[in-house]
Amino acid sequence: MSASPREHGYSRRARASLFAQSLLLVVLAALVAALCVEVSRTEALRVRVDASRRRVNTLAEPTLERIRQLPSPARVDVFFRPEPGPQRELVAEVQRRALEFLRLAAARAEGKLELDVHDTSELEAVQARATELRVDDVANKVVVSLGERKAVLSFEEWAQFQPDPLDARRLAIATFKGEELLASTLARLSAMEQPRIAFSTGRGELARESGEPGGAGMLARALRDDGFELVDWDGTGPLPERTDIVALLAPTQPFEPDALAALRAHVERGGRLFAAASSVVVYTGKGSTSDLLTSYGLSVLEGPVCKETIDPVTGILADGDPRVAVLPVSGSQLDARHPITAPFVRHGRRVVFPGALALQRGQPPNGVALIELASSPRDSWRDTLIDPRTRARNFAYDGPDEPIGTFALLTAIEAHTRTEDPNARGRVVAVACTSALANATFETNRDLWLASFNWLARREHRVVVAGADPNVGRLDLARGPYLARVVQVGWFALPAACLLLALSIWFARRRP
């Protein structure tokens, strides 16, 4: 029978030996733990599941695809620092969200995105890195580098701002654009070629470089930022060389037959067309955008599409007001599968069509497919009747004389080409809404138009849509009983229940 150590005790030497054995065991355990941690970090074995209801930890698949397709790992240097002044809280909020998003992106990038958050109090190190990057001012900037190419992102680019609903003197975040910004920056840095867009001019189109509310300067800038090259086409001669996309921004005057023929031939060769018919000066005759769209089985119908609205002040259902022609479109009114609109459905985003005309689907020619991307809500009507006295629309539903139902507002067309490639398709995006493209509403529709042009450029991987309004899902603390309830429960009810239990246990234990 073997003797137990307890019965015999241990000599000093035996103890030292056992101590060394124990120490070795602990060191071994630590090494095994370190190995387990290291192995668990390998992408093949790592399991990540986003359990949050709003999928806050999940990047959009196009963004991930964009990151995966990077030719080499991109490096993101963050130089955030606290900003003094009245907007310090806003700056801190944007920085926090940007940092959270970048950490998430780096974690999901499978080694394609290296994040380096610099401590801006270490002036020498920051200066050294800034010199290395060859960027003069890095304060509050994020520098994205891909090889030798660099993009410097400033604080304002991370979000859209609006007056704070609780304090109009301050700004608040309307939409955080981290994902959109990173995706477009990486796309710009990795782009080898710039798709060329030829904008038709001289037919009363929206002015491409105008900053006026009715101009299209914001669209042009956004397209340029997204890596497109913009050129003009006066609609008379052949299209400019290497034109990938032709954009007709709501022309109000007709094109010559030769110009229309050139546009049709461009699509037949596998070219792409963004055709926005004017909803301000409605002309559907020969040489119009509507005439061009008829070739693909689509026609533009007169009369803006309207839907009654609820007056925000009185809460009364209102018509007879031009506001009924401003149609917000979201959710089920958008195609959930098409690359242009699917991200809007996924993120719960909406787009706005002010004064839009309906696009009617006719009989498309062989080899042409029409997809309605956005349509008006149910029971919307086309305001076709004009008051003979005032010669103006009344923006009210006038009974059976005005068509009622759901109308297509944005349509994508794919057409077989006459090229040798059987898979080649010409692509067209059609809309009949001048105001939806203009600067006045551009910020709301920005992602829609960028997505449309990227789809036209066959860059579906760049179709990235910013997430929903960050204020969605927030509690209205000023009006709801939330704070009072939390105070009642957290300050009083829970601790009191525990103290009551403590007291009852104490009494129970005191009893003999």
Binding site: R6, R15, V26, R48, V56, Y482, W491, L494
Partner: protein, 253 residues
Amino acid sequence: MRGPELLRGTAVIYRRELSGLFLQPVAWVLLALGLFLNGYAFPALLIATKGDADAAFLYAFRSGFGWISIVLPPLLTMRMISEEARSGMLEYLLTAPVKDGALVLGKVLAATTFMAVLWGGAFVLAAALAACGAAIDWPRLVLAWGGTVLASLVFCSAGLVASALAATPVVAAFLGMMLCAGIVLLPTFVDRLAFASRATRRALIERIDLAGQLEQTFLRGMFDSSTLVLLVSTSAVLLVLCTRRLEMQRWRS
């Protein structure tokens, strides 16, 4: 049949420790204090996040790393070994047909259960908000709670190590708090290491920053097996250390 034996022993010790904890008025007073401090901060967090309840819960769990994780687990575990060694109870336990591993595991799980109850106060607050019509992200909250409980397992393990090392409960509590603070502050120390390059420091921090890892994953409603492994293996190393320390007590007695 070492596995079932270990489980049986763990269950016995767990029940014993749990009843020892929850049948003490002082435990409930501690719980009341912890819940009050958590609840006290929560309205301020709701205001700071402008009504974003999910973010407020994230900060509530994260702020727990500041004091709850450093102070409470050592207070819970301080008597578990040192007091029993002083009173002679440990001798009986060591001679009982229970393995040292089961003894340590049972004790640490009991302390972690207490912490789980404390963190569970978040569910009551969430239910109160939900009763007022707030849309609570329950899966995210459950995952955040689970991650925090796992982190508490690490801190309770550190507290138990301190209890095994110290001769008296007061010293054990102090030592435990130092150990827990060390775990929380370790990434900051590593970041200050002058001899390592920035890249090396960053790589090291990524592997030892429990709070940072937890915040990036579980607290945001993201299950990450790598964080799980980090928390469990850190705890396992501490428990191995504690078990070996108990064995050393055996040689000395």
